[in-house]
Symmetry: C2
Subunit: 164 residues, 2 copies
């Protein structure tokens, strides 16, 4: 059984207007007009070649303010508990988040983005281009969420529940 | 500047029919009928609660056979070089892959899936539910790919290029 640990090093920092984990947008589509930028560490700048031209990119990042994890959580979108793997809540066994944001422009190692729903200062782990032909799942079904959530996500904000 | 390292521990293993990095499907949609299963380590089983009911899940995993990285690569889908962050090629600064696969069924800590495009024995890092309302980007544009790639991805297979 392979249980070896994997060491990950951030490739940059995500700068956003969100300085506190309370009262944040809880999904990129709830952050439509909110701008931020990626400061990619200069040694990785060449890797951005040809990224301009993609309208959306998926960021992988570290939930760096989260301590430990829970297997059952009340996500922001419901008042009942669900398993952590049926939620995107940050308090997960590996504290990695993903957000597909809008790419605005690139200047050297700075990538300007929109739809930012992560904390200011978040360590960036990877940038992946979004390919609509491969990455959309138009006919997907979303279990507990389809059955119970009626408030539009655009109106929801985070709170204190995952601070400790 | 926060350049601290982050330690990640696999939460399970992905079992697939792909035993060699050569001649694999290069995207989940190129692996439509190919089945596999996740063996989640038993201590995380409770975290699967309510996942059944989602038709698709996004897996984060470790490209465990990849050594080192390149900033410019020729992806499987093109014969020209592009920056690593404008491709999904595995030889990236942090060797983390993502695939949105079809969820078939769950039996205790075993999650049966379809559309598997990763190597047999791949260490699993996270499972995230796919929310069509939040995760689709219908009107996205895909830069170099839209301009140059005409072969359907379903017909493409991986080769030896990232083995060393």
């Amino acid at each position: 059984m392979n249980r070896q640990q994997i060491i990950i090093s951030p490739i940059g920092i995500i700068h956003t207007p969100h300085n506190d984990i309370n009262n944040m947008p809880i999904q990129p589509i709830a952050a439509k007009d909110i701008r931020g930028h990626i400061e990619l560490y200069p040694e990785y700048e060449e890797g951005l070649t040809d990224l301009e031209g993609f309208s959306h990119i998926t960021l992988l990042y570290h939930f760096h303010k989260i301590q430990g994890y829970r297997l059952m959580v009340k996500p922001f979108m419901d008042d009942r508990e669900h398993g952590i793997f049926s939620c995107k809540a940050p308090k997960r066994p590996n504290a990695i988040g993903t957000s597909t944001v809008k790419l605005i422009s690139i200047e050297k190692n700075i990538v300007n983005i929109e739809m930012v729903d992560m904390l200011n200062g978040t360590p960036l782990l990877d940038i992946k281009p979004f390919f609509p032909k491969y990455d959309n799942r138009i006919d997907a079904k979303a279990g507990w969420f389809d059955k119970t959530v009626s408030i539009p996500v655009e109106k929801m904000r985070s709170d204190e529940r995952f601070r400790k």
